[in-house]
Amino acid sequence: MDIFVQQVVSGLATGGIYASLALALVMIYQATDVVSFTQGEMAMFSTYICWTMLNAGVPYWIAFVATLAISFVGGVVIERVIIRPVERAPILTIVIVTLGLLVIFNSLAGWIWTYVQKPFPSPFPSQPFKIGNVVFGAHDIGAIAITLVVLASIYVFFRFTPLGLAMRAAAHNPVSSRLVGIRVGWMLALGWGLAALFGAVAGMMVAPNLTLEPNMMGGVQIYAFAAATLGGFTSPGGAVLGGFIVGVVENLVGTYVHFIGTELKFTVALVMIIVVLLVKPTGLFGTSVVKRV
């Protein structure tokens, strides 16, 4: 039982990371109508930026906030400069562009920071603590807390601020939004900015577990896809819940199903994607989008 609770908690910790990245995917999907393959690599790049600052002696939380800011601006710039010219192109074109960005960020990171694995610090104490017989990693608990804070603030932003409302309006109905004076293009750019910010959170939280290297986010991105598919690409809340579910399931299956162990854990994510697509393609909370042609 103790092992079970422990595995659930550590599953929730990685799940929070998947949730952040899944939320990034959903943001892009709602803004641009495509599944972006570059969010993981952008997250990895953001993490390197944070690492560089930490290496230069910047205190952790200042580097953390600065990385969020830089990632946000970077996301906005990428949308304006790279995505905007293909905004009206067929969906496949945009998907290919995001694949191109994936390769660019990956190689750029390797070129700047080399492929040598770098340890990345956790802001939380390394000493695990015990409640009863259960041992919790401080980083796990901290990662869950940070994820929840980020998710809560973004919920408040979308639910209660005029700008958040305008972004929702722009994502759902661009034509009507323009007719009430919302600059839809800029709302999409802000969406990319926020997505980059969520990615940065995911990257900085997962790096202490995985150690930093250019291919760090490859696996996380696949879990995030599974999370977004499970929760529904059209539902931010669903994607978050999907992230936690995927994290926990991944961990429990790795622990209790012996032939899977750690080696076949990825397969779990892929199986989840396929099962969801077969049984309920819109995900748990997604709605099917009906388009008039």
Binding site: V175, L179, G181, I182
Partner: protein
């Protein structure tokens, strides 16, 4: 000439297809003007041209300022609200959020509460349903929401695209009655309609659009007696 809206030699294009072939008309401030015409005559396109939603040639002036070359969002800021064809409801947003979004293009965000009160006075049903998603409203209710959303901009000019389309006659009468009040409270209205009888009753000035050109114009009481209009649009 101090027209509120002045349209000269307006041409509009969808890709290479020309939808308007030199439309000329103007409307005075404070009035209700209607553009009548059959399906495909170019009524919606004319409104879309004013809102800069379609590629055009020619000039459009609002209160003396040229609109061509401006973005849709900037036209909105000048005080032109457009209740589009198909009502343009934000189906996922609540009624209240729909209205809030309508005020986005306004420079002056003060007095939002008064504006809510004003549209709730026009359409009491919206107050009851304000927590409901826009998509759950009936067609008539969505049309009211569309007009209300446009009014949240505190517009000087309201562009209305077929507000009667697909609605029960009673609902249509209700909406048109409110439009008259809205106009009396200082909003100029440019109404595009297929339902000529209704439009002639409401408007003070009428333009008749046929295949992308204005073919007839005049005060509505005169045109109501015009034989061509009567036969083609009023059916008696």
């Amino acid at each position: 000439m101090s027209a509120l809206l002045e349209v000269r030699d307006l041409e509009a294009f969808y890709g290479r297809t020309k939808a308007l072939h030199g439309v000329n008309f103007s409307m005075a401030a404070g009035g209700i003007t209607t553009i009548l015409g059959a399906n495909g005559a170019g009524k919606t396109t004319t409104l879309r041209a004013i809102s800069r939603m379609v590629r055009t040639a020619g000039t459009i002036r609002f209160d003396g300022q040229p609109l061509d070359g401006r973005a849709t969002e900037d036209v909105v800021q000048l005080g032109i609200a457009h209740a589009p064809e198909g009502r343009g409801t934000f189906v996922h947003l609540t009624v209240e959020e729909n209205l809030r979004v309508g005020a986005w293009g306004r420079r002056d965000r003060r007095g939002l509460t008064d504006d809510f009160e004003r549209v709730f006075r026009y359409f009491p049903m919206l107050r009851e349903r304000r927590r409901q998603p826009g998509g759950t409203l009936s067609g008539g209710e969505q049309q009211m929401l569309s007009v209300a959303r446009a009014l949240m901009l505190r517009p000087r000019l309201l562009l209305l695209d077929e507000p009667s389309l697909g609605l029960a006659p009673m609902v249509v009468r209700e909406i048109f009655r409110i439009l008259r009040t809205v106009n009396q409270e200082g909003v100029s209205i440019l109404l595009v309609e297929q339902n000529a009888a209704l439009a002639l009753d409401l408007a003070d000035h009428v333009f008749l659009l046929e295949t992308g050109r204005i073919v007839l114009e005049g005060p509505s009481e005169v045109l109501r007696k015009d034989d061509a209009i009567r036969r083609a649009y009023l059916g008696y």
